[in-house]
Amino acid sequence: MKTKLKLFAKARDLVGAAELELDLPESATVAELRTALGEHSPALQPLLASLLVAVGTDYASPTTRIGGRTDLAVFPPVSGG
């Protein structure tokens, strides 16, 4: 299923785009999204393990199903303040 996500900070720079579309099964979880991201954008590999995933405005848990969602965001650890 077409799955849309926004990218921020170093993840956006490494991919070279602020948004991505991936094809994921409906049952896909955060772990599968990481794998798919790494295959789509090998430049993200050093960052993959630390990437956080949000659905809407909430952090996804490891078991959240995200396939087919269009309101995902993927970003490295935060550093505001």
Partner: protein, 144 residues
């Protein structure tokens, strides 16, 4: 007041917005752009954010603080964009009946902000290089 802004933070306005006759204490925290970090010199910081989620998380943090302390008013403003040395990147203002409550609630808000609110800073070092700050995701530095 929960706000993300590209403009300089009016911390006087923010502080006034939390003042109340019910409060015996008002605490204001300002985060400012520091020049030196572990021997390296910063010339500027660029802040990026995911505004919808950042504002939602800031509202959640305010609600958490209100559930733990008798907060009368709380306000958090975070700046985004290009900031020079000494500029204010974030301001947190809290009013409570007593000072220890206001200090504790203010500290909680800024500490949690740094952990969960999707905002990122990029260092502009004095040698001309730039570097995103992503705690826990940095390349392992060699031990010398």
């Amino acid at each position: 007041m929960i706000q993300l802004t590209h403009n300089p933070i009016d911390f006087t306005l923010l502080t006034e917005s939390v003042r109340s006759n019910q409060a015996g204490a008002v605490v204001l925290f300002l985060g400012t752009v520091r020049e030196m970090t572990e021997g390296r010199q910063t010339v500027a910081l660029d802040y990026d954010g995911f505004p919808e989620m950042a504002e939602a998380k800031l509202r959640e943090l305010e609600a958490e603080a209100r559930s733990r302390w008798p907060v009368i008013e709380a306000g958090i403003v975070h700046r985004l964009g290009h900031l020079e040395l000494g500029d204010i990147s974030v301001a947190v203002a809290v009013s409570c009946p007593h000072r220890h409550q206001a200090f504790d609630a203010g500290r909680y808000l800024i500490d949690r902000l740094k952990e969960v609110v999707p905002i990122w800073k990029k260092e502009n070092w004095s040698d001309g290089s730039t570097e995103w700050v992503h705690p826990g995701a940095e390349p392992v530095k060699s031990q010398i």
